[in-house]
Symmetry: C2
Subunit: 254 residues, 2 copies
């Protein structure tokens, strides 16, 4: 049974020079965040670090100590710039070993394709000693779990396949309910209304996201809470307040 | 004159519950990273933190101490969840004041539109004491510079307008040259070649980015260096090595 009163948190370390150089647009933050919401786990912080063992280790140790779960994406392929396993093993103080199960997965994957399991490919079977594997249905190499550290691929659809396999397996609290209401109101016109509502309901968070579209200003207001009823009541009160201020609320956002 | 031998670095703190909830896909990391490359400044780390003053302050102080520049995006609008200015002022130990120039910008922006400068809107003229303004041509409220901290909007096109105004004004080193060559080669087939090339050229970084497309595997190899000639020679050697291994190199990537 989950402890409903406790808030579960995760952090994510995104590993890769390609994100920090601007070459690659990260997609793992958004996809992991949404998935964590459904597991009742809040994504508390993200750090993006380069392919540098010391930086990876520092971020992993700092964040795994203060969160229930620590995820990483990137750096687990077969090439020289894939150093995540070594960096994390060093950071937690265990040796790197070849995992027999991972080796078997790679053998089963490459053999029928007539591809040799070279030393480079075998790198993908290396894990910090004591690790378990995370299933990967979309390509051969598995993800790696070591205590509260979940080591995922950087390629978004492979990372997606790995978290898919973890669905329902991580202990969390109640899923966070997120409701949106939009209005053709400049956010500065409703700032006081929002503040009043949030102060009256400390366990909801209200975000205000302005836009300029079709020649006019507007905002979407996102109400988030683990208490679905409270989120609902807050959105209703917000819609009422918008109406009183002369703006038509649009349920679900604009 | 820039010091050509020194490497200039920046860090970015992305502020916002909407990124950590998965609601909003961040675009500022990639756009700031590309722009920094052109300024000869390397983006060394990114942290994404929630709308929480303590978390913002902690990330800003940790990163501004070890980098030449510290950028933030998000949390500078008129609503209750826009707490970046207060959080940074508290973190660096100065009071928040209304900047007369920012107030004037807001007055000039709202008056001709017949919009009242309410207390909420005036929030956007508040800065940590001692700050300068960063020009914003796309909407009224300016960005804020305090010592080596550059406080930008979260909305990507407004952030883009603010960094546009900073182009050429930040001291940096040589722009980082990035050259790409692709091949229909699984990255595990060329892992040893890449490692040999990188070891032979410690001042280049080679990234390997695999893909699966049109029914086949391939990889793009990105060679980055402040030394453009060295990057060029390394790409030529890589193309030669790919050819010798039986793969046709594609300049510019696939």
């Amino acid at each position: 049974m989950s402890d409903q009163s406790r808030q579960w948190t995760a952090a994510l370390v995104v590993i890769g020079d390609e994100i920090l150089s601007g070459r690659t647009q990260d997609k793992n933050v958004a996809q992991l965040a949404s998935w964590l919401n459904d597991q009742g786990i809040r994504l508390a912080e993200v750090r993006v670090v380069p392919d540098d063992a010391a930086k990876i280790g520092e971020a992993v140790n700092a964040l795994r100590a203060i969160n229930d779960y620590l995820f990483t994406t990137g750096g687990i392929g077969p090439t020289h710039d894939d150093i995540t396993i070594d960096a994390i093993a060093a950071a937690v103080g265990v040796p790197v070993v070849v995992h027999p199960g991972a080796r078997r997965i790679l053998e089963d994957y490459y053999a029928p394709r007539g591809i040799e399991l070279t030393e480079s490919r075998l790198r993908m079977a290396r894990v910090p000693e004591g690790a378990e594997l995370i299933d990967n249905r979309s390509s051969g190499a598995p993800g790696v779990k070591w205590e509260n550290i979940y080591i995922l691929a950087g390629v978004p659809h492979i990372a997606a396949s790995m978290i898919e396999g973890l669905t329902g397996k991580l202990e969390g609290g109640r899923p966070i309910v997120s409701l949106t209401v939009g209005a053709r109101a400049p956010e500065s016109d409703v700032a006081e209304l929002l503040q009043r509502l949030e102060q009256a309901n400390p366990s909801v968070a209200i975000g205000s996201y302005p836009f300029f579209r079709d020649g006019g200003y507007g905002s979407n207001f996102v109400v988030r809470s683990e208490d679905g009823d409270l989120a609902r009541r807050t959105v209703d009160a917000l819609a009422q307040g918008l109406r009183e201020a002369g703006f038509e609320p649009v349920e679900g956002g604009i």
